[in-house]
């Protein structure tokens, strides 16, 4: 696993905008699959994890503003309050951008602990807004935070390898 070993520098091709946009669209698609019942509770927030990946790995390209816009799209897709996902993704992007250097230095296990805090903060923001507006908190919602954290390692490995193979092909 070259991603676990930070001794040798990774050579990753500069990411194209198309790749970033495609990954976000795919994440929106995965969020949009007909999840129901228990699966809905266990569903990780793919969009949040993908946005966090780009905010940590390309903080100059994908930042708070971009995350906010994707959050607005997620708001429309989920028919939630306008700005609710946008707010939580803004918090997510802030965490990702501020911790980006540190996270890129770490291996996957350490990354996961860092990412779990950011995701917890994101989920808490969303739940807090919901509590303020609707007056009750569904604690089971935080299960999604757990699965999103678990998704981080395979997701970032996948993204790194996709960026890597493009170099190999050249």
């Amino acid at each position: 696993m070259p991603y676990l070993d930070k001794a040798q520098p990774e050579i990753l091709r500069p990411v194209s905008n198309l790749f970033i946009i495609t990954s976000i669209v795919v994440a929106l698609f995965l969020n949009g699959l007909p999840w129901e019942g228990l699966w809905l509770m266990l569903r990780p927030d793919f969009v949040a994890v993908v946005m966090l990946y780009w905010c940590t790995h390309k903080p100059l390209r994908v930042g708070i503003g971009m995350s906010w816009m994707v959050g607005m799209l997620a708001d429309v897709a989920d028919a939630s309050l306008f700005g609710q996902h946008a707010l939580s993704y803004t918090v997510l992007a802030f965490g990702g951008v501020v911790l980006s250097r540190r996270i890129r230095m770490f291996d996957l296990r350490e990354q996961t602990t860092q990412v779990s805090l950011i995701l917890l903060l994101t989920y808490a923001t969303y739940a807090l807004v919901h509590w303020q507006v609707n007056g009750h908190v569904a604690w089971i919602y935080f299960l999604g935070c757990l699965t999103s954290t678990l998704l981080w390692a395979p997701m970032s490995t996948l993204m790194q390898s996709m960026r890597q193979t493009r170099v190999d092909r050249e």
């Binding site: 070259p2 520098p9 050579i11 091709r13 500069p14 669209v25 929106l28 698609f29 995965l30 969020n31 949009g32 699959l33 007909p34 999840w35 129901e36 809905l40 509770m41 569903r43 100059l60 930042g63 708070i64 503003g65 906010w68 959050g71 607005m72 799209l73 429309v76 897709a77 989920d78 028919a79 939630s80 309050l81 306008f82 700005g83 609710q84 946008a86 707010l87 803004t90 918090v91 802030f94 951008v97 501020v98 807004v129 919901h130 507006v133 609707n134 009750h136 569904a138 089971i140 919602y141 170099v167 190999d168 050249e170």
Partner: protein, 321 residues
């Protein structure tokens, strides 16, 4: 693959000198810092949320953005519908025959009841004419299918495949063959959002079929149940009572089944009885739904404190009628 040294150009991009210089330029040109951006977008989000909860100004921008998102959503529901089409295709003949037989039996049974109910309807109209009461208007319905269920576990909402292009309006009532399912709360061009009756604090005015007692059924939110609130302990209600819409709110047509009383707790310590009901309609089950057309408008509610002169004219008008 990694043993092969990559070409020099790729190394070059990783060499710090050039990369770093461009990065510092970008850092210098980036304008406001992270904290400033965070504050800006957080304030913007709060502003939007405030406007969205208090007023309804943002519906047009929401439907504009939904044009961007809805292709992705359609695509996401595609595997499911393809799977269903495939399973429809491989249905066996014997199961089709069985279903056909069952439907035929059901139809004959229904036809007998329908004839009876038609004569009753006629009779009812006659009686209402004699009593000079307002006629019940029959309601038209539109067929719709659930595109997907809401993917927010806080909410009990579904989206159906008819929107403002099919003349759907917010407030219309959605039912299936058994009873009320929900109400349309938001309309997009090709989709509309149905809030289910089990949504937290969603209210349906109901009437007990057996005794005619009026009440309001509220959704429980986290479970597929309804509850009747503020009913006195001595109230005349029993397990198994069917609740139908009373129609006094001008939104729900009267006489549609809503729920069945499941459990009644009469605790003398509390002033009200706790009544739990289960919805009769397949609130979380079926895929096909009926959207009822809007009800005729009720007459305006009289002012709370009318002047004596207008009160007199109203009385006179009533006598004239």
């Amino acid at each position: 693959m990694h043993t092969v040294p990559p070409p020099l150009t790729t190394y070059y991009s990783a060499v710090p000198t050039k990369m770093d210089s461009t990065q510092t330029f970008q850092v210098l040109n980036r304008g406001p810092g992270h904290a400033a951006r965070l504050v800006f977008f957080v304030v913007l989000s709060f502003l939007l949320m405030f406007v969205d909860t208090r007023y309804r100004y943002l519906e047009s921008s929401r439907s504009a953005l939904s044009m961007l998102v809805s292709p992705i959503q359609r695509l996401a529901t595609l595997p499911n519908s393809l799977w269903q089409q495939a399973s429809d295709f491989f249905v066996t003949q014997s199961s089709l025959l069985d279903e056909n037989n069952a439907l035929r039996l059901q139809r004959e049974k229904d036809a007998a009841q329908l004839i009876q109910s038609q004569s009753l309807l006629q009779e009812n109209q006659q009686l209402r004419l004699l009593l000079a009461l307002q006629q019940h208007t029959p309601f038209a319905s539109q067929f719709a299918e659930i595109v997907y269920a809401e993917r927010d576990i806080f909410k009990r909402k579904v989206l159906i495949n008819k929107g403002s292009y099919s003349d759907i309006q917010p407030g219309q009532v959605v039912m299936d063959d058994k009873g009320i399912v929900g109400q349309i709360t938001r309309v997009y061009p090709w989709l509309s959002e149905v809030t289910l009756i089990t949504e937290k604090d969603h209210a349906v005015p109901v009437q007990v079929l057996r005794s005619g007692l009026r009440s309001v059924a509220f959704g429980a939110g986290d479970t597929s149940q309804l509850s009747l609130r503020y009913m006195p302990v001595s109230t005349d209600i029993q397990n198994g009572d069917v609740l139908i819409t009373s129609g006094i709110d001008g939104l729900y047509p009267p006489g549609i089944p809503v729920a069945k009383v499941e459990k009644i707790e009469r605790d003398a310590a509390y002033p009200f009885a706790q009544i739990i009901c289960l919805p009769l309609g397949g609130v979380d089950k079926h895929k096909q739904l009926l959207v009822l057309s809007a009800m005729p408008r009720l007459p305006e509610r009289p002012a709370a404190d009318p002047a004596p002169a207008t009160g007199k004219t109203k009385v006179k008008k009533a006598e004239v009628h």
